[in-house]
């Protein structure tokens, strides 16, 4: 079992996310995370899908994705040859001043940004690999996490190799 990252270019129209997620459910594949956003030409969207499985499972996932009419192109991303990023917003309880300064310090170390401050809380925006976000969460957990949201990963292969719709 391992974690695999797939990128898919799909038609950017209503119902496509449903068709993709439905296929995962029906074929008994496990999605760790799925993110969708429009591409530079508005009629294509890019999905980044993280799946758990072995080699045979991932081969099937790729083929089943390609089989969907609304999926234009699928590519497997090698984690070692890709940039993999996720963004998280973490609202931490910081009523006392020690907590405030600790959390600010951790945020600085993680190159996070403090995007909201109130009397008793802060929201820190952290970007990075999923493991970096996990590490940050572990550090601030003792202070009390009031709310937590992460985007799921987006990923892109390094170098000139690219996933594009052929004209």
């Amino acid at each position: 079992m391992g974690e695999y990252i797939l990128a898919a270019l799909v038609e950017h129209k209503p119902g496509v996310l449903h068709k993709v997620s439905n296929m995962f459910r029906k074929r008994n594949f496990n999605i760790e995370s799925i993110t969708v956003g429009a591409c530079e030409d508005g009629d294509v969207a890019r999905m980044t899908i993280t799946v758990q499985g072995d080699e045979a499972v991932v081969e099937q996932v790729v083929k089943q994705l390609q089989k969907l009419v609304d999926v234009i192109k699928v590519s497997r991303l090698e984690p070692s040859k890709s940039v993999v990023r996720e963004l998280a917003l973490v609202k931490v309880y910081t009523a006392d001043s020690k907590a405030k300064s600790d959390v600010v310090n951790y945020a600085t170390i993680f190159r996070g940004r403090i995007v909201d401050v109130s009397k008793d809380s802060m929201i820190i925006e952290v970007t990075g690999s999923p493991s970096k976000i996990d590490a940050f969460v572990e550090l601030v957990k003792p202070y009390g996490i009031k709310e937590f949201a992460r985007t799921g990963v987006v990923a892109m292969s390094r170098g000139l190799k690219s996933l594009k719709v052929e004209e």
Binding site: E11, M23, L68
Partner: protein, 555 residues
């Protein structure tokens, strides 16, 4: 032009001659157009499930698209079993459903159902019309997707305001779907490698499936089998891709496969699998399926490769093109195998397993063998699901490719009769017989009304053991004869039921009587239901117990 007019015009441009359907509130504007339509025959069914099955039977008889139509809500959901059935057996059914008006969608309006959501996992693709001017493109794409590549059902959901809306519609549309480009031609290098394996093998077997039917690769299959001197086993869906009286034909493999077919494939050293998906019913325990054989897998759907079994060599292509390429390569190499030890072994196996002539008691097996004797080669046979189907698979020899229609993947009881109606509409000049069981037939028998009113005469041979027979057999074999809810208690009287619909109903008491009635039935201009009482405990044999290897066949 209204959306409804555009829809019917677009269907006509796709060559649609027949629609199986039932009107209802949310599809009435389309039916209003059909009222004056001369070029399309609309057949009013009595249940939407039958509309879908009839369209499926029509599609399989012609190996081209079949169309069904229903209203929104319950009309659409009644189609669902038929759509799922078409999906599992890769049949190009185009289902058109009415839908509530777009401003009502999502409001739980009267007879609203999310048919797009419901049918997504059981269709090749589905559409909801959102603009009247899209109708010609959607219809064109729907037929293209349904009938190319690996065929499959497509749903077009048409909200009521899209049916009544007026727009300038342009029918000069071209299909260009960037995410859908089936690969038809085989890769030349893979073909060479396949030929290397086949030429080097001593005990080759061809395993042919439903894909050969859809690709109409009958001629190529036969030529290749004879060149290679390779016996041809089929999956259940592939039954009848080769005339089953051909010396190289082995019949079906699998759970209720023929002994010679299961033995031959398990003894093979190379399998050329074409248009099959290695279902659990075909392979038995998959880890023990043909260890010693190198498997070449030809399929037009890349996702079938290595889905269920490991293969040595995949060829993603249309069966006809792939087989042709292999034949050409064999010819190029000047290869033609003479009768080998393998073939002599196959001949012996076949001799051991030869069916006897029908005679003696009125049993299901005798009735089916007798049916073959009575029917002309070109007759089409459909089946229901259960024992009747497996007896037909084992003992009804298909002589003309493509004349056997049955629900394989989904195993839908009630399929055979409406499918027979669809097949008869498609090919009116040949006799069509549904080999039925009493349990299955009662699931869709209300369409006897359709057969009578629409003048679609077929023969229904009900093998009546007053049981849900296959379940009862499993209870006998695997559940200590605990017949939990499988006794149908002799109800109804099928002959009288048929008569009530205006069809002919006969109960026979002997093989001789059955023969006489069958001879009349296939010439009858009204549907004939023949009630054939069979022994309650007649079993389908052989059987491979579920989850076991094909080697563990009980004969």
């Amino acid at each position: 032009m209204s959306g409804s007019q555009a829809l019917i015009e677009a269907l006509k441009r796709e060559g649609v001659k027949v629609i199986f359907g039932i009107p209802g509130g949310a599809i009435m504007p389309v039916y209003d157009v059909l009222y004056d339509e001369k070029d399309i025959r609309h057949i009013l069914m009595r249940h939407e499930q039958c509309a879908a099955h009839a369209a499926d039977g029509y599609a399989r008889a012609l190996r081209g698209p079949g169309v069904c139509m229903a209203t929104s809500g319950p009309g659409a959901t009644n189609l669902v079993t038929g759509i799922a059935n078409a999906y599992m057996d890769s049949s190009p059914v185009v289902a058109i459903t009415g839908q509530v008006a777009t401003h009502l969608i999502g409001k739980d309006a009267f007879q609203e159902t999310d048919i797009i959501g419901i049918t997504t996992p059981i269709t090749k693709y589905n559409y909801q019309v959102r603009r009247v001017e899209d109708i010609p493109r959607i219809v064109k794409e729907a037929f293209y997707i349904a009938s190319t590549g690996r065929p499959g059902p497509v749903v077009i959901d048409v909200p009521r305001d899209m049916q009544t809306g007026i727009a300038d519609v342009d029918f000069n549309v071209k299909v260009s779907i960037r995410g859908y480009k089936p690969n038809v031609e085989p890769h030349p290098l893979q073909v060479k490698r396949a030929v290397d394996i086949l030429v080097g093998s001593e005990r080759p077997v061809i395993l042919a499936g439903g894909g050969v039917h859809w690709s109409k690769a009958y001629g190529e299959l036969l030529t290749l089998a004879e060149l290679l001197m390779a016996p041809v086993a089929t999956t259940f869906m592939g039954k009848g891709v080769i005339p089953e009286n051909h010396p190289l034909a082995l019949g079906c493999v699998g759970m209720h496969g023929r002994v010679e077919a299961n033995k031959a494939i398990m003894a093979s050293d190379a399998i050329l699998a074409v248009g099959v998906r290695f279902s659990d019913r075909t392979t038995g325990k998959v880890d023990e399926f043909c260890h010693d054989a190198k498997i070449i897998h030809i399929d037009i759907d890349p996702s079938e490769i290595r889905k269920n079994v490991p293969v040595h060599l995949p060829i993603v292509a249309d069966a006809k093109y792939a087989l042709k390429a292999i034949i050409d390569e064999l010819i190029r190499r000047g290869f033609k195998r003479e009768k080998s030890d393998w073939i002599r072994r196959i001949e012996m196996l076949k001799k051991e397993c030869e069916d006897s002539e029908p005679g003696g008691d009125l049993t299901a097996v005798n009735a089916i063998k007798l049916l073959r004797k009575v029917l002309p080669e070109k007759a089409i046979v459909t089946t229901e699901v259960g024992q009747n189907q497996m007896w037909a698979s084992l003992h009804f020899r298909v002589l003309k490719p493509g004349t056997f229609i049955s629900s394989g993947g989904l195993g839908t009881m009630g399929f055979g009769f409406p499918a027979a109606l669809g097949a008869k509409v498609a090919v009116p000049d040949v006799p069509v017989v549904d080999i039925a069981g009493d349990g299955s037939f009662l699931m869709t028998e209300q369409d006897l009304a359709t057969s009578v009113v629409e003048d679609i005469p077929v023969t229904v041979m009900v093998l009546n053991n007053s049981s849900l027979g296959m379940v009862a057999q499993w209870q006998r074999f695997f559940f200590g004869r605990r017949y939990s809810h499988t006794d149908l208690k002799g109800v109804p009287d099928f002959a009288r039921l048929a008569e009530a619909f205006g069809a002919r109903g006969v109960r026979v008491g002997s093989l001789n009587e059955l023969e006489q009635v069958l001879r009349e039935a296939v010439k009858s201009d009204v549907t004939v239901v023949i009630d054939v009482p069979i022994p309650k405990e007649e079993d389908v044999l052989p059987i491979v117990p579920p989850g076991r290897s094909l080697k563990d066949m009980i004969c």
